[in-house]
Amino acid sequence: MKAALNLRKVGLGLAAPVLAILVAFLVTSTVLLLAGDPVVAVWTQLLTVPRPRLVVAIINGASVYYLSAVAVAIGFRMNLFNIGVDGQYRVAAFAAAVFAGQGWLPGWLNIIVALLIAVMAGGLWAGIAGWLKVTRGVSEVISTIMLNAIATGLVSFLLSKVADSTAGSNVTNTKTIPAPSRVPGFAMIPGTPNKVYGFILLAALVGVAYWVVLNKTRFGFDLRATGRSETAAVASGVSVKRMVLTAMLLSGAAAGLVGMPLLFGQDFSYGTTFQPGLGFAGIAIALLGRNHPVGIAFGALLWSYLEQQSNGLQITVGVSSELVFIIQGVIVLAVVIAYEVVRRAGLRMEQRHVARQLSDQPGPSTPQGASA
């Protein structure tokens, strides 16, 4: 009976994202039809088997998205909306890049200390929002959005101070990380010289740590309890203020790692061309993956897949690759609705199930004859 219950749980869990993707498919097709674009050709392009080079790009993109989505999910699990992952990862990547670029420490030691700096920078940046919420009651949604804007300005300002100016180039970068402090990639996919980021392991490690801490520790229990019902958590002895601050710090710390695969596996410096917008993708992916470490992995892969596959749209079928933003947007919107629908359906099913189980047991006697 327990197996049946779990099977149903898994079925319900899958129903929502599948539903959402279907809705996205329909809406996007409608948009294409209305715009007079070739519907079949677009889907053929998006759904072809990606070439090995693209497979590597998809996996690499996904590993970065994964870190971002986990950072968001940590907040989500206790009803904190950390919209500021975007600012946090940029502040952190910049700080780590400045340090690592100096090459003060040899090889891996340089990497490890840089990672610590990134974690601390991200945590501190998010901690500002946490501290404001705890002491002044400022909504973290507002403060993290503001901090994103501040982060953008602050990082550009500081970048111009520390820039390793190359004559004849208008690209500003921090000092390039010395070769011994770069993370080697894995040649996992045959048929292409491109390598998968070595820091995909970091993403996996963060995912495992996220799962273990949340599901297996007292702290995780407190955090989940606070997310499910703050009032019940307070009555159970959780100090909600401390939880808010801790969760923000952790979320920011994870956000600090978002830029690391890029920094140590591809760019080797932080500059004006460093990939933007990762934090916002993380919000969507965390929603899609339902804050579950495995779900997030699938969400991140889907996101990255759509992006890489869309690159060819303009050339092959003459449709702007921005189409993918429509698909992604609809998926997120649909998934939020679908999860709520599925949650309610699941609750009803469970209540009925419980009632059926109980009615098999000797229950209360049926009432005697009702009056006319």
Binding site: A235, V238, P367, S371
Partner: protein, 522 residues
């Protein structure tokens, strides 16, 4: 078995002024997990006060929600003035002349009576002078004594209720449903309400009155329909039944009683509160110089109209509010400044007033709910790690021992009935060897079976030498279970009442401050 069932079974038409205003035929409503109503049939004569009585959880409220269009029945028909109606929403019900006064008032404090009344009914008489005149007319006609320009915030509970009634009349209702209207009133206000109801009746309006307080029902109703476990048991004439007979109809054969056995009170103080004061925002203290001592094996009951500081007292004890002054001692330890978690670890069990908001994680499985509040204690944890196996085994054990009806400990708390949720909460609090049990309204909104089980647990706690603080709005429950009763009024505790001699009337007077000092017998 019940003699009166037959004698009083014939349709009662006391004071009928024409055909039935409302008739229900074969109403059935199923919720997941329960059949809330099953084949409910009765008719209400025009110009009468018709009472619907039944225990908590018998299905009265669901029935009334169906009649008011909030819920839809799965089967059955509703006739209003002889015509079949289909009620999809409250506006359909209002259209049909049915109005409902809910147990919890739906008034905006910072608006006037006029503004509250016209809100949502702006079309009928505008929002200004015409509406004002209409309100004064209704108020005068039915003796409601409310005035259009009074600020709701300034009105007492009884008057607010009359504003609710006026709101319904203003919308043209000829049939009024009152859901447990006396639950929030003290005895003196109840009398006033009943005068109003008689006034409405004499004007030809029909009142459906839901209650589980039999004496009140007998005094005001012209006809009484008894509901038990979701179905109509009988419709009786109040002149031909006693409250004892009515009670037996309500609960079936056996009547559970909250009364305790011989005293187990010791002279060992467990919880001592001295001069506890909690300053309020408006300058008046929410709690003022509260002193109380609960000994091992003693149940201290606190009576009071809701909102007089009992909720804050509980929160102060549980460390969820910092008192402005005063000390709280748990045996010899001063726990005043302790954090909630430390207080719970020290052995203070807590049954919160609002179980869904404060005691449960509705979306979490039962075994996680049994950890809640004890997530630092064995068998739930080992060091920083959760011991899921231990927690599950513990949940299995207490679910069996405390008769929590569930097919599995892996279902969510949301899928249990209210009574089973509450049994689980009490089982949880009792299973971590507490010294003190703080129980706020432990039987609110649970069915008769669970109520009896919960009373048994409180009696057991008392026998096992716990100090029990019982806060309840049910005066019979307080009188039955407590060794000592105190009344809280405007944040201050009265002297002690002896539950063996005190009556609900005495407590009622003390609760409103009407008879200051009267009835203090010790």
């Amino acid at each position: 078995m019940c003699a009166i069932t037959d004698s009083a079974h014939s349709e009662v038409d006391a004071g009928s002024a024409g055909g039935p205003a409302v008739e229900l035929r074969g109403i059935t409503k199923r919720y997941p997990g329960v059949v809330a109503n099953k084949d409910v049939s009765f008719s209400v004569q025009r110009g009468t006060v018709h009472a619907i009585v039944g225990e908590n959880g018998a299905g009265k409220s669901t029935l009334m929600k169906i009649l008011y269009g909030v819920q839809r029945a799965d089967e059955g028909t509703i006739l209003v003035n002889g015509a079949v109606v289909s009620l999809h929403s409250p506006s359909d019900a209002i259209e049909a002349g049915i109005g409902m006064v809910f147990q919890h008032f739906m008034l905006a404090d910072n608006l006037t009576v006029l503004e509250n009344v016209v809100l949502g009914a702006e079309k009928s008489h505008g929002i200004a002078d015409r509406a004002r005149a209409e309100i004064e007319r209704i108020s005068g006609e039915y003796g409601l004594d409310v005035h259009a320009d009074d600020l709701v915030a300034d009105l007492g509970v009884g008057k607010r209720q009359r504003v609710e009634i006026l709101k319904v009349l203003y919308r043209g209702a000829r049939i009024l449903i009152l859901d447990e209207p006396t639950a929030v009133l003290v005895p003196q206000e109840v009398d006033e309400l009943f005068d109003n109801l008689r006034e409405l009746k004499s004007e030809g309006l029909t009142v459906i009155f839901i209650s589980h307080k039999l004496d009140e029902v007998l005094s005001v109703a012209d006809s009484i329909t008894v509901i038990r476990r979701g179905t109509t048991v009988s419709t009786v004439d109040p002149k031909s039944v006693t409250s004892r007979q009515l009670a037996e109809l309500m609960v079936g054969s056996e009547l559970p009683s909250p009364s305790t056995e011989e005293s187990t009170v010791t002279d060992r103080p467990i919880l001592t509160i001295t001069d506890l004061t909690l300053a309020g925002a408006s300058g008046r203290d929410i709690l003022h110089d509260v002193n109380l001592t609960i000994h091992a094996g003693e149940v201290l009951g606190i009576a009071g109209v809701e909102g007089n500081g009992q909720a804050e007292l509980v929160e102060a004890i549980m460390g969820m509010r910092d008192p402005t002054a005063g000390r709280i001692l748990l045996e010899d330890s001063d726990i005043t400044d302790w954090h909630t978690r430390e207080i719970r670890e020290a052995g203070v069990g807590y049954i919160p007033e609002d179980r869904q908001r404060h005691a449960l994680l509705l979306d979490a499985p039962l075994w996680e709910n049994v950890m809640l509040g004890h997530q630092t204690q064995p068998p739930n944890v080992r060091g920083v790690w959760i011991d899921a196996a231990g927690a599950k085994a513990n949940t299995e054990r207490i679910a069996a021992e405390y008769d929590v009806r569930t097919p599995s400990i892996n279902v969510t708390a949301n899928s249990l009935s209210g009574g089973n949720q509450q049994k689980l909460i009490i089982a949880r609090e009792m299973s971590y060897a507490p010294r003190v049990l703080v129980a706020a309204h432990p039987t609110r909104g649970v069915d008769v079976g669970a109520q009896a089980a919960i009373w048994d647990q409180i009696k057991r706690a008392r026998r096992e030498g716990l100090a029990v603080l019982l806060i309840s709005a049910d005066l019979d429950e307080l009188i039955g279970l407590s060794d000592t009763i105190r009344v809280i009024l405007r944040g201050q505790l009265s002297g002690e009442f002896d539950p063996d001699v005190v009556t609900a009337e005495d407590l009622g007077s003390a609760m409103t401050g009407a008879g200051e000092g009267v009835g203090e017998v010790r």
